[in-house]
Structures are given as C-alpha cells and as structure tokens.
Symmetry: C2
Subunit: 352 residues, 2 copies
C-alpha cells in the first residue's frame, strides 16, 4: 500500500475561508482511492466544528492551531515580515519540516509567493518563481505560465519559464516531449516587444534540448498548438481571466438557449441525461482552479481567492497530482540544462 | 430617401481574396434596407467575373482597376513606399477624395495602418491610431482597444485610447455615458506595470468628463463591468485571440455534446428548431469580425486576414454602422477635451 500523501492546507486563506476550504477538503475525499491526509492550519475553534460536520474527515485530518492569518490585501513584503506563525506561513513551513508533501492556499497570491520564497528558497538557476496554469485543450490540457507572479520579466526569465513549464507539463500532463511556444502577437510587422524577440533568440541559442516552436498567438492556447505557452505574468493573467470570462459568457448563452424556449427546455431535459453535465463541468472555471508555483524547493498550489468548496477540491486534486508526479526530478533535470547554458554564456563572455 | 452609403473595398486584401471579399459583399446585400454602393479596388480581370456571379451586385458596384496589391507580409514602412496605386492604397484614398464614406480591407494590418496614417492623417491630439474591437457581452457589446496597432504604448497614449474608445462606444453602441476601465491584473500587490499605474493617474487627473472606473481584469471584458476596456495593443490582441480560441474550444465541446450520443443528437434536432442557431451565431468569431481604426480623419475597418465571405460581410456591417453613426463628431468632441487637458498640462509646466 502506498503511504498517504499529506496535504498542508492554509485553512484561513480565501474569501470564504475557512468553510469553503474545509468543505472542499471533505468533497475531495469522496470516492478517492489514493490515501491522503490533511494538515489544516488555522483557528482551531473555527476549524473543529467544520471538520466534525463531515463524516470521515476528522480521521484523516490534523488541525494545527494558528492565531494569525495573512490579510488578502497585505503587500508581499509586509506579509513576510508580519506573517510568521500565520496559517499561510505554517502551511508552507510544514513542507520544509518534512511534515507534508505539498501546500495549498487560497489566500493572497503575492504574500504566498513571498512567503514560499523565503521558506522554501528558489531552486538553483531560477531567479523568480512562476505560476503555471493547466488550460483546457481539445484533448487534455495545455500549460500556460506565468499567469500572475511576475508583472515584468526579462528575456532570460522567459527562458527559465520555458524550462520550468516544460518539466511541469511532462510530469503532470504526461507528454514525453512537450512542445513549447512563446506568446506573441501574430502580424509579421508587429512581432511583439524587443524583450519577446530577445527571449525567442535566447531560447533558440540555448540548445536546451527542448522542442521549441517559436511564437504562438492567443488562440493557439486553447487549440494546443504547443503543449506549453510561455509569457509574462501580466499577459498570462489577463489571458487566463479573459478565457474564464469568455467561458462564463458562453455558458450563459447556452443556459439561455436551453431555458429560453420550450424546445430548449425539452432539449436540455434530454441532454442532461447524457452529455450536458460533462459539458458543464468542462466549461466550469472551477474545474481548472489551481495555479502551481514553479521554481521553488517544494510544491505550493494557489487556489483562486474567491473559490468555493468545489473549486478548492480541484486545487487539492492538482496538488495531489503534483506530489505524485516526477515533477521535482524533471525540474532538476531541466535546470541542469539551464545551468549548462549559463556556464556556456559566461565562458563565452570571458573569452569575448 | 437616404443617399446610399459608399463602401470602398480593398478587394485584393486577405488570404482568400478576391473571392471571399466579393462573395462577402454580395452576402451583405441580402435583405438590406439601407442603400449601399461598393467601390471595389483590384484586378478588374479577376473581379468582373466574381461580381457577375451574383445577381444584383453589379448594379451597386464600381470596379476600379489596380495593378498592385500589398503583400500580407510587407513591413509597414515598405508598404507605404511601394504601395501607391495598390488596391489597399486606393481603397483608403477614395475616402480622402470624397468618393466613399468608409474603407474596408482584410489585408496586412500594419500596412493598412501605415497607409491610412499617410493618406488620412491623424486627428489633432492623437499620436497613434488604435484598433477598436466590439466584444460580445451579456447584453450587446463591450468596446476593447487597442487590439493590435501598438505593441508598446506610453501612459498618455492610453489616455488617448480611453478618449477614442469612449466616443466610439457612444456612437456605435449607443450608451449615453459609457463607463471606461483600464485593463490590469487584479491582485492588490501586483498592480501592473508602472506605465499602467501612471495611465490610471493621468486619466483621473485629466478631468475628462468621462465615467472612468479604474482598473478592470480580463474576466471583466466579457461581463461588461465597464463598456470600454483600454489596454495596449499587445495585451489587447492576445486577449482578443484568447477569447476567440476559447469560444472555438467551447463550441467544439458543444458539438461533441450534441453529436456524441443519441440523446445529444435528439437534443440537437430539437434545439436547431429553436435557439441553437442563435447560439452558434453568437459563438462564431466571424460575427464580430472587424476592427475599427480610431484616431484618423476618416473611418477604416480592418477585417481578419483569414476571413471568409461571412466574416467579411460582418466587417461591412461594422463599416456601415460606423459611417451611419455620429462617430466622427463624437471623436471631435472628446478630442477637444483631450486638447484642453494638454493645454492645462503645458500651462502647469510653464508655471512650475
């Protein structure tokens, strides 16, 4: 029997915490074969009755009391200084202490990033972590990064993101040789900023043993033209939220089509016996809720701040997949290649 | 009776030109009450038989022969130097000559922009034109700009885009006081680049008599949190294409749901009598195909390069709506406010 995976959970992070968090954890247990255990960090007085509500949850859970929690609007630097001993801090620290395999929080993104960097440290060769999102594609998923950790990035950081994202995709989505693209605008005459063109040149020159396909456009993400799409955190965040908004809009239209007329209602009644539920699930942004921080010595998953229980359960699934995957070793392999590249670049500079 | 509106059309621009262009123009005539006339610019030997194919098209069309056409991959500067007398050049020039009310092309975006600037000139107070897209919203449309003309913009250009976009939305989508937002990432701690924060401050300080609501996020575009969403051409282009890709992906899922099982097929058969066609139309990126160049002395509409006849007909509808609207006078009014702002800023600088 496989030993249970331990998920360390910031039970106080998120707009509807702690109720949505505990309910999500309970929901995630249902029908699960892989054994999991939870470490909940937060206010024990609030958490105990919530855990007790769900049959079977108490038996796999440990509540570790904390007094403090990180404010949703706290600045990252502030959070690092003031959050020691908070639910978020302790959730991440449990990984470092070897008490848990992966940490999950729906709290303040910037604070979680800053705290994770301080506690877990960056992997050698990575300068800033990136947030990777698994993006629905015609078959399976694409990987998009960065979706919000870094508003402004240098060309060499985009190269790091390519390396991190390729390892993530191979480990989590199972492609042996993921293809990688750099997000850009398409017209020949508007080939993006200098920074993107420089990143393209850097990746090509780096001899990373990566299946790099050059520039891709916004519509290539959903069509999975490449498995991995690399971009800065500003563009990636806007692309992700735009896609969520579009899915929601189209979902509203579909609801109208299925409820606005008698024929629609009849069709919906027939469909709901079959494929409509699957369609609804696919279109639900909650079914892809969970950004993974890449580049740290450990796995941290960020759930949407506004998540409900169902969305949080998705983040736990993603965390489980990450912990069960060869992700950290894939990253090590990729980073070794990146560090070869830096060594070569330095050697070339020393010669030049 | 209203005099016919004259649409000046680059019949040679676009991947499937001239057939898709002429077919689209013929499609657009069907069931139309407003009288229109076409000026087709292009190779007469190719255009004449295409026009003759459609009953009723020849009677409202004039073919103006051109020998040259702008290459889809030509650089803008090159295009301006070498394209005099091309179908694109002449299509735009017909507006300046007073022969047509609006010009439409599915050709090279950068070249069309450069040619339009040279022939029509920018309006006083505008430094660069922007491309505005009408974006499907729960009710009606949002306006998003820039969706591809300017990869890098300054904060003051974003202010100009706000002014242009607000006038466009009022004229074309009929809101008396459109609300305006600036596209950004949401987390408190990652409030976008300095350039976006500067633009936000500039708009607030400018006293533009505009209903400016501050920052919006990617998912606010489709939910129409504000009527107008302002961004740079890099981010806007990626957001637009990401939304198109998402709509296409969800459309594919819907097709699967409606054809993958017997119940799905029955539901589709019932639905197609009712609301499915409307849903399909709403989800079809071709139904919103047409970016409008704002900031020029004249109206130029850009269709997707890869457009088919149906998509090109949409661009003609957008061109007609623009020509019939109070757009140019709304822009004049807004620009007067912008120029007041510049005058005040200069006066303040002189004092300071």
């Amino acid at each position: 029997m496989t030993a249970p995976l331990v998920l360390s959970i910031d039970a106080m992070g998120g707009d509807d915490a702690p109720a949505a968090i505990i309910d999500g954890a309970a929901h995630f247990l249902k029908g699960r074969k892989r054994a999991v255990r939870y470490l909940f960090h937060g206010d024990a007085a609030q958490l105990e009755p919530l855990v007790a509500k769900h049959a079977g949850l108490g038996g796999v859970s440990e509540i570790r009391h904390t007094d403090g929690q990180v404010d949703m609007s706290a600045k990252p630097s502030e959070a690092v200084r003031r959050s020691r001993g908070s639910s978020m801090w302790n959730a991440v620290h449990a990984i470092k202490d070897g008490d848990a395999h992966v940490a999950v929080s729906a709290g303040n993104t910037g604070a979680l990033m800053a705290i994770s960097k301080v506690i877990l440290r960056m992997k050698k060769g990575v300068h800033r972590p990136a947030i990777a999102a698994s993006w629905p594609a015609p078959r399976g998923f694409s990987t998009v990064l960065d979706v919000g950790a870094n508003v402004e990035v240098s060309p060499s950081q985009l190269v790091e993101f390519a390396v991190l994202g390729e390892a993530f995709h191979r480990a989590v989505h199972g492609a042996a040789h993921p293809t990688v693209g750099l997000l850009n605008v398409g017209q020949e005459e508007l080939k993006g900023s200098q920074s993107i063109r420089d990143a393209d040149a850097l990746i090509r020159e780096a001899e990373l043993d990566m299946d790099y396909r050059g520039f891709v456009e916004g519509d290539d993400i959903s069509s999975a033209t490449t498995n991995v799409v690399v971009t800065d955190g500003f563009t990636g965040n806007i692309a992700l939220k735009t896609a969520e908004g579009t899915a929601r809009l189209v979902g509203g239209w579909l609801r109208e089509a299925l409820t606005g007329s008698l024929s629609g209602k009849i069709a919906a009644a027939i469909l709901s016996l079959g494929a409509l539920d699957r369609l609804r699930e696919r279109m639900d942004p909650r079914s892809v809720n969970g950004g993974v921080f890449l580049g740290l010595n450990g796995v941290v998953v960020k759930s949407h701040g506004g998540t409900d229980a169902l969305g949080f359960a998705t983040s736990l699934r993603i965390a489980l997949e990450m912990a069960d995957s060869r992700f950290l070793s894939e990253i090590e392999n990729n980073l070794a290649r990146l560090s070869d590249m830096s060594d070569r670049a330095e050697a070339a500079q020393a010669e030049g």
